[in-house]
């Protein structure tokens, strides 16, 4: 177990993460810091967390800074995480949008795609139930973390990862065995596009999105940053588009131009009429 961080170092690290990635960490998350930064110590041959903070205090920003931000912004995930959003997507959202869009392409955005389980889950739902729509769908995967985004792009998962939430028939249908790992088949990976993006900073060049997933991410930002991110996402959505947030999240008092839609047990929002 890693020793606790000196309070001054911990505070400095919180400020650093907030400044560089708008990530909000409080004292209750100190365990998260020690667990997440341990692999970084090993990777760079740094003895203690105090030494690591010393390296981070040095400028200019380099590989160590980037890896620390990546380590702190990587979220544990699984295929079909929380299940309900994907039921809603399959049973309500996709039928409606498929009808409205006709032969036009569909744009889906996983705004914090992490290691790719969410976008590939969406891709599987599309391939299973709406193969025609899948053929003209692009799923944009963005994340601040280059390493996880690279994993999304490669679509290679360990046995422990494919054990998580993925029904066996879909594993057999959409993955190839690659040594001890499993690789997503091209019919899914060609639907995916990756791009490094810091949600807390302005972005350009993202097309109007029909569906946006930003689940369990906003909780890491302060209220002002949440308002800014959600407002910019809304402006980047089609007028009849949908926004999925995490089951325990709400946009109440965050963005009044988005209204909560009732759909099964999912938490999703539409642009106000």
């Amino acid at each position: 177990m890693a020793p606790a961080l000196d309070p001054q170092d911990f505070n400095w690290l919180c400020t650093f993460l907030r400044t560089e990635s708008a990530l909000v960490i409080d004292e209750s998350k100190e365990y998260l810091v020690t667990t997440r930064l341990h692999p970084v110590l090993k990777e760079f041959g740094i003895a203690t967390l105090t030494d690591l903070i010393g390296r981070l205090r040095q400028r200019p920003l380099g590989k160590v800074h980037q890896r620390v931000i990546e380590a702190m912004t990587t979220n544990e995930t699984s295929f079909f995480r929380d299940v309900h959003p994907f039921d809603t997507l399959r049973d309500e959202i996709l039928p409606e949008l498929a009808r409205k869009r006709g032969a036009a392409p569909l744009n889906i955005w996983c705004a914090a795609a992490s290691t790719g389980q969410e976008p590939y889950t969406i891709a599987m739902v599309l391939r299973e139930k709406f193969p025609d729509v899948a053929a003209r769908t692009k799923i944009l995967c963005t994340d601040i973390n280059q390493t996880v985004l690279e994993r999304t792009k490669n679509g290679i998962y360990s046995q422990l990862e494919v054990n998580r939430g993925l029904p066996a028939p879909l594993l057999l249908k959409y993955f190839d065995r690659k040594g001890s790992e499993w690789q997503v088949k091209p019919e899914l990976s060609r639907m995916i596009e990756t791009r490094i993006l810091n949600l807390a900073a302005p972005w350009v060049g993202i097309p109007p999105m029909d569906i946006v997933f930003i689940r369990n991410v906003l909780i890491y930002f302060d209220v002002e940053t949440r308002r800014s991110i959600v407002g910019r996402i809304r402006k980047n959505m089609a007028m009849d588009g949908f926004l999925f947030v995490g089951g325990a999240e709400t946009l109440l008092n965050i963005d009044n131009d988005l209204t909560r839609a009732t759909a099964g047990r999912s938490t999703l929002y539409r642009r106000a009429a």
Binding site: Q159, L160, N163, A168, L172
Partner: protein, 125 residues
């Protein structure tokens, strides 16, 4: 909910059983396929699910799967293979023989819970 855990490893049975009992499930156990059939014969109602290892002495998990799927009395019981067999061919073989799910060892508690969720057996319910 009621689960039958069939595994020749007492340790594995104990880990799974503890997790299910914590969620309020009833658990029955067997150390191999033949014993599983005997346990099932002694029960008034079939369990909701059987969690079945593949490689076991006396009667292996695949033979047990075939025996259960050829008995209409157990057609409502879901069967999940929980095994170190991780080859695609094995997985295909098990699903073709009527297994509802397949969990590869080693696995985490979250993975087991998620696989049960896929089968509509929500641990948190």
């Amino acid at each position: 909910m009621h689960a039958l855990i069939v595994d020749d490893s007492r340790a594995i049975r104990s880990v799974i059983a503890r997790m299910l009992r914590q969620a309020g499930w009833t658990v029955s156990e067997a150390g191999h396929g033949q014993e599983a059939l005997e346990v099932l014969a002694s029960l008034d109602d079939a369990p909701d699910i059987a969690l079945v290892d593949w490689n076991m002495p006396v009667m292996d998990g695949y033979a047990l799967l075939q025996a259960l799927r050829s008995n209409p009395g157990y057609e409502q019981m879901q069967i999940m293979m929980v095994t170190t067999e991780t080859e695609i061919e094995r997985m295909q073989q098990a699903l073709a023989a009527g297994a509802n799910e397949y969990l590869m060892k080693p696995f985490t508690q979250e993975a087991l819970a998620e696989k049960l969720g896929i089968l509509g057996l929500d641990l948190a319910a």
